[in-house]
Each structure stands twice: as C-alpha cells, then as structure tokens.
C-alpha cells in the first residue's frame, strides 16, 4: 500500500479501529491529519480548548454540547481512537452490510445516531430528557431572542407532543418514536470523500 502504510503504522491498533468504525485507510489518515492539526501543542490528545479554536464551531449555538459529546464523564482529554469512534456515528449507513445475528450493532446505525442526538439533550445521562434539560437546549439555540414565557410554552408543547407515558419527561423510546419519520441517515450523516 505504499506510503499509506507508514502513516497507518504510527497509529496504534489501527486495524481494530477500522473494523469497529468502518472507515477506510484513507479516511483514517485524513482524520489523523485533522487530529494533529487540531492538537496544536502536539500532545497526542485533544482537550475542549482545542475544539473551541474552530471558528464555526464556536459560532454554533449548541457547540459546547457537541464538544462535550467527545469527552466521557470525568475525562478531560480525548485520544485519536475516541475521536474517530465519535465521528464514526456520522458515517452514512452501510446499506450492503449483511446482518449477522451475533455481531454488535455498527456505530453508525440509525439507532446509535439517534442515541448520539439524544445525548445532546440529556446532559445528566439519566436516560430521560427532563423539562429543565429541554429548556436549557432551547435557551442555547435561541439565545436572548425569546422571552422566558415563550421558552416555557415551547418546552411544554414539545413535551406534550412527545411524552406518551405522561411522566413529564421524554425517554429515549419516546424520542425515537417522535422522530420515526425523519430520514436519520440523511440528516445525521456526513459523506466522506474517497
């Protein structure tokens, strides 16, 4: 494989990584270059500050939450493997993949994509989106453009529509059901070139 081998060899456990995530060697190399570009001090891992340096991300209303998704609770750094695994959520769904009964679900399955999105709302990770959590997301996305009352009414209406068991929170199943008609593959996928 020519020179690609030399770069790949520098990455530990790259075979496992490719198998778990489904990225091709070329993708891994490009992501590795990107990782190194973000890791300005060359420490071999990223911290939230490195993500914050990306201009368009800092501009994104839920940019903080997206950055937070890369860091497991309690951890303040993310290594290359974790970086790639998180990004793997956004690979388009493999339509040709044979369904083996015993193999684990691929990272980029529809369900896992939904779980990723759910996580953005459910910050305390208790498996439910509470009214408060919903308000926080709404406040992040709308900023100071709306009043508190408007925010509350939007939150109330959203819960009313999605909350089927009337416990005033949205569980993952309710979340999934409410979005069943959405083309998740299209909306939560990024097409990697080559």
């Amino acid at each position: 494989m020519g020179s690609t081998n030399s770069t790949l060899l520098k990455i530990p456990n790259v075979e496992v990584l490719m198998q778990e995530t489904g990225f091709s060697p070329a993708h891994i190399i490009r992501l590795h270059d990107r990782f190194k570009a973000l890791d300005k001090e060359g420490r071999g891992h990223l911290c939230p500050h490195d993500f914050g340096a990306i201009k368009e991300l800092a501009m994104n209303p839920i940019g903080d939450r997206i950055i937070g998704a890369f860091f497991s609770p309690g951890k303040e750094t993310v290594d290359f493997h974790t970086f790639v695994k998180i990004l793997a959520h956004f690979r388009p769904v493999d339509k040709d993949r044979p369904k083996e009964p015993n193999s684990p679900e691929p990272i980029n399955s529809r369900s896992n994509k939904l779980k990723f999105a759910f996580q953005l709302y459910d910050q305390d990770k208790d498996g439910k989106i509470s009214r408060d959590e919903l308000l926080q997301v709404l406040r992040a996305m709308l900023g100071m453009q709306v009043t508190d009352e408007q925010l509350e009414s939007i939150a109330d209406r959203t819960i009313q529509e999605a909350d089927l068991d009337r416990d005033d929170t949205i569980s993952f199943e309710e979340f999934r059901k409410s979005l069943e008609k959405i083309n998740i593959d299209h909306k939560m996928s990024i097409r990697f070139l080559r």
Partner: protein
C-alpha cells in the same frame, strides 16, 4: 571490495564535474541551456501517463464524486431555513412550520461535526491535494501499488530527485556570488521555471512592490528578475544566515517581529526609504502569513497607508509539479527547503500589474482591497474575505448571536399565535 569503492569514487567525480559544468557555470553567466524547458516537457508527459495508469487501475473501485480534491467531506450547502424545513416536513404534526421540534437540533449537530472534521479557514491552510498524482507520494494519500512499471518510474524519480537535484541545490545554496546570480542559482537548484508576464510594469525605484505570499521562495522568484529591498522579520537559524548574506549586497529594511507591532515606527522607516528615489523598491507581502496558493486573504492595510506608488505582483505556482506551500506550524525551514529541493520542479507564473495609487476619498482598507482583487483576478486565485489572522484568533460572540437570531425567527414567526391557546 576496494575495487568497488574506487569505481564508486570515480563515478562520483564524473558526476560532480557534470553537475558543475552543466549547471553552475551557465547559471553564473545567466545563460540557459534550454534544459529546463525540455525537462519540464518530459515531466508533464510522464505525469500524465502515470495518472492515466492509476486511473485505469482504479476503475473497479466505486466512483466517488471528486468535486473537491481539497475536502475531506461533501458538505450540504443548504441554508438553515432549507435544512430545518426539510427536517420538519417529515414530522407528521407540523403543518404551518414554525414550531420547535426535537429534530431541529440535528441540523446544528451535523453542522458542528462537519466543522470539527473540516472548517473553511483551516482548509485554506492545508496543501492542495492534487486530483492527479504527481509521483510525489506526499501529496496523495491514496497511492497504492498499481503496476510494476509505475513503481520503477517512481524509483527512478526518487533516485533522480535525491541524487541529482538535491546535492545540486545544496551546493548552489552555499555559494557566495553577486545578488542576482545568487538567486538565479537558487532558482536553478530548485528547478524553478519562472515565466514573467508584462515586464514593462516591473516595479521602479522609490515604489512599493506588493505581492501575494505563498512561500519563502517567493523572494527568490521575484529577485530573479530585479533588485528589491526587503521588508521582513528577522528569522533565526538558517534563514537568518541567508538574510545576513543578502543584506551585504543591497540595502534592506529588517524588523523584529515585536517591532512590527509598532506600526508607526514601521511606517516611518518605510516612508523614509521610498522618499529616497535612488533606493530600490520595497518588496512587501501584506498578508502576513503563508496561504496555500489558492486564495488571497485580506491584505493588512498597513502597507497601503504609507503612500507612494504600489506595483502589484501576482505569483501563482503551478501545483502540478510540487507544492510550494509552507505551513509554518507544521514544518520548520530546513525540512521545508528539503522538500522543495526534492520536488520535481517549481513552475510559477509572475504577473506584473500596472501601478496603482491611492485615490482621493479612498481609505487604506478600500485601497488594499482593490489591490488584492487585482492580484487575485490576475492570478486566477480565489478572492477571500477571510482575514489571514483568523488562523490565530478566536471568533466573536456576535456571530453566534446571528445564528440564534436566524433560528429563532423560524420558531417565533407563526408560533406565538398558538401559544395563547396554551397546553390543556
């Protein structure tokens, strides 16, 4: 064993004398033996052939859209309204569109992840990845073994580059000749073929020459065709040695980087220099940092406040033969020069544009933009409005607010009429 060493030594001597005879001597006298042109022609044919072979070899693989050789990902260019609208149309309960829905977050999430993988600013600062492979494995990640023939050619290429071109240029580099000759040798060493256009517009004494900046080689390229006074920051290390040797032959204006911060001192010194009509034209690269030769970022207005006549020059490197871009964050000077010297060749075009002066009622920024567009237009470069300084700065809060405003107008719009009804 000894016999082998002797043979090798003889071979080495012969080779050395060829090198001196064929390259250094003509360079000293400014005579071109026409080798470079032939060399370039052969190179082009070889590269085209090589690309075809690879493409044939890759035909079985699924054809992916090759729209952006630069990008890692294919981005959806829909606006916020379009994308969120699409998301909502699939939502059964939404008819008027104007409600918040849980899937709205998907849009922001996807945009965020896209930006983590690739953002517009950083993209400008990475080397162009070529659609055609130029036998330099650095510039193409998908190089794989296609055929024996190709590998042999590649091997030959490595041999030529490392054994012939490299020592050549090292030798040339250390020589201590007169100003233009010195640069000319450098250009030969780098196998540079430079085409100058519109020589009648060449910068005259007492003027300021302004050019877009891609690599330190720019100086070599321009100095090959005229004498300039340089304005620049003092570099440490190897570059500093080179700088000091240049200073001996021509009066230059060097600054420390911290001195550059004092704009008034800089401006004064430059003003004094151009007021003296016998002094050589000053060469300035207003962008302040290296761009990857596909776009011209915002020019810093300092150079344009000084007054005097500006002679814009557009430099464009042909990326087919070797990538001249220097990412100062990634490579230091020595490894960069090594890369340059072992590239096939540097082919670039230099256009001298007609002189411009600041017009009445035009402030420095507008003037700078005007010059910038002229350069970008001539060189076929993309005229970007990003400021090169963005590479090192953080974004302002107000941009985030804009996003929030846009989004809230979608929600609040028709929303508030229903709010009065309220949940049961």
């Amino acid at each position: 064993m000894e016999g082998a060493w002797e043979i090798a030594f003889v071979f080495f001597q012969v080779w050395l004398s060829i090198v001196v005879g064929l390259i250094m001597l003509p360079a000293m006298f400014g005579v071109s033996l026409g080798f470079t042109d032939i060399y370039i022609k052969v190179l082009v044919k070889t590269l085209e052939w090589a690309t075809l072979r690879i493409q044939r070899g890759q035909k079985e693989q699924a054809a992916l859209p090759s729209q952006s050789a630069n990008g890692i990902i294919e981005k959806d260019d829909g606006s916020m309204q379009e994308e969120i609208g699409e998301l909502r149309r699939s939502h059964p309960k939404n008819l008027a569109g104007g409600d918040f829905t849980l899937c709205d977050a998907f849009y922001f999430c996807k945009k965020g992840i896209e930006n983590i993988v690739e953002d517009q600013v950083t993209q400008r600062f990475t080397s162009e990845e070529l659609a055609s492979w130029n036998l330099l494995t650095r510039t193409n990640n998908n190089f794989c073994y296609i055929s024996l023939r190709l590998t042999i050619i590649w091997g030959l290429g490595v041999f030529i580059r490392y054994c012939i071109l490299l020592p050549l240029s090292v030798k040339n580099w250390l020589s201590d000749l007169v100003h233009i000759t010195c640069y000319r040798i450098c250009a030969r060493g780098l196998s540079a073929t430079i085409r100058y256009h519109n020589k009648e517009n060449r910068p005259k004494k007492g003027g300021i020459c302004v050019a877009n900046h891609t690599s330190p080689i720019d100086i070599v390229i321009l100095a090959n065709d005229g004498c300039y006074a340089m304005v620049g920051q003092v570099h440490g290390g190897l570059m500093g040695v080179l700088q000091r040797s240049i200073v001996r032959s021509c009066p230059h204006v060097w600054f420390e980087r911290s001195e550059m911060k004092d704009r008034h001192a800089v401006a004064k010194r430059l003003k004094d220099h151009i007021a003296d009509k016998t002094k050589l034209p000053i060469l300035i690269f207003p962008e302040g940092t290296c761009i990857n030769n596909t776009s011209v970022m915002m020019f810093k207005k300092g150079s344009f406040e000084i007054g005097g006549t500006i002679y814009p020059v557009a430099i464009k490197y042909d990326p087919q033969f070797g990538d001249a871009f220097w990412n100062s964050a990634k490579y230091n000077m020595v490894s960069y020069l090594l890369r340059m010297m072992t590239s096939w060749a540097i082919v670039c075009n230099v256009w001298y544009l007609p002189p411009m002066t600041r017009q009445d009622g035009e402030d420095a920024v507008q003037f700078a933009n005007r010059v910038k567009s002229a350069i970008a237009h001539q060189g076929g470069l993309v005229d970007l409005s990003w400021d090169g300084g963005l590479k090192r700065e953080k974004v302002k809060e107000s941009l985030k607010e804009e996003q929030q405003k846009m989004y809230s107008s979608m929600i609040i719009g028709s929303d508030f009429n229903e709010a009065s009804v309220g949940p049961a």
